[in-house]
Symmetry: C2
Subunit: 202 residues, 2 copies
């Protein structure tokens, strides 16, 4: 619309999630008008992140080095392991500041039709680590399955739990029920049904 | 939250307009998980745009070269000039595909309190160009003042029109009235008042 370099920037900005033509234009104009220095810093941060962020060799989350800061942190309880679908789920749990164990990132959910099975989810690697901790006399006492509360997430949780059963003390699943602020009248019946089924004693 | 390089990317993404912590995280995770190549392309496009896009020496819009594609296009009517506040306004008008003249970008609105006066808005440069076109026997026949319909935009339009009056045939202002789809019942009274005042014969 304006110039080839501008149009190219707009085109590339559209790779960002929920950014369409109008938003991309607004972003490009904002940076060009007022934030050139920060635009360059953003380009540098992007380049470094895209090229250098790799998979942690232990938890398969994102990491700058071979081992991520969480796995490398001796303060974290390595007898408590939380299994999540994505690194984004790991970020979400970290932000609750209510989990002090370590993680394992499956990198997706079980989906044989898409060719995603045990190998893609790193189940062998997970079992290898669980076994090694047993050998080291430091077995994982509890695994928390924190996959999504979707059909795929539930299936994945069941599949993982079957696979790791011999190697861990206890396997648990994050609670499924009424979310904070949820009003029963407006809740979908699936959630309400789960909440009734999973009721706890008080 | 995850790793320094990830956190830095999130921080830098927040320079984008209406992108806060949550959206920036979602963008970073999306790129890292699925779009590394496109992320690198975005970084490159950003770097090029931020470093190389300059001001067109004629219209003061954005340009890859000294003269922008619109000013350099011999098909455009250079006896019709549209004056806008920002390059973004220029993009918006171009997208209507209903203007075939050329532009002049003020780069803001008149605001003496912020030190933005005739010099900052390029009025001298504008008058110089108008004069040169007169000398070349190719005077500008009509100037359209397309500044925003705000107090500042109106003041700026008045100021510019006073300054260029001696050098152009006709000065006009884009119409102010009821927008497309506007229902009178829900329109603010300022707009409705302007629409009544600016009523046209049919």
């Amino acid at each position: 619309m304006l110039t080839p370099k501008f149009d190219n920037l707009v085109k590339e900005l559209k790779v960002l999630p929920s950014v369409g033509q109008k938003t991309a234009q607004r972003m490009a104009l904002h940076l060009l008008n007022h934030k050139r220095t920060q635009g360059i810093q953003l380009a540098e941060a992007l380049m470094i992140a895209m090229n250098e962020i790799k998979q942690c060799q232990i938890c398969r989350g994102f990491s700058d080095d071979d081992i991520c800061p969480i796995c490398a942190n001796p303060q974290r309880d390595n007898q408590l392991l939380c299994i999540v679908e994505t690194a984004g789920d790991m970020v979400a749990i970290e932000q609750t500041a209510s989990f002090q164990g370590r993680y394992f990132v499956l990198g997706g959910y079980l989906s044989p039709i898409d060719g995603i099975g045990a190998e893609q989810l790193g189940i062998d690697q997970l079992i290898f680590q669980l076994k090694r901790q047993i050998d080291e006399g430091n077995p994982v006492k509890e695994v928390i399955l924190a996959t999504n509360n979707t059909v795929e997430g539930q299936t994945t949780a069941f599949f993982v739990s079957e696979a790791i059963k011999p190697y861990v003390g206890q396997i648990s699943r994050i609670a499924q029920g009424v979310p904070m602020g949820g009003e029963l009248e407006y809740l979908d019946s699936m959630t309400l049904g789960q909440a009734l089924q999973n009721r706890g004693k008080i």
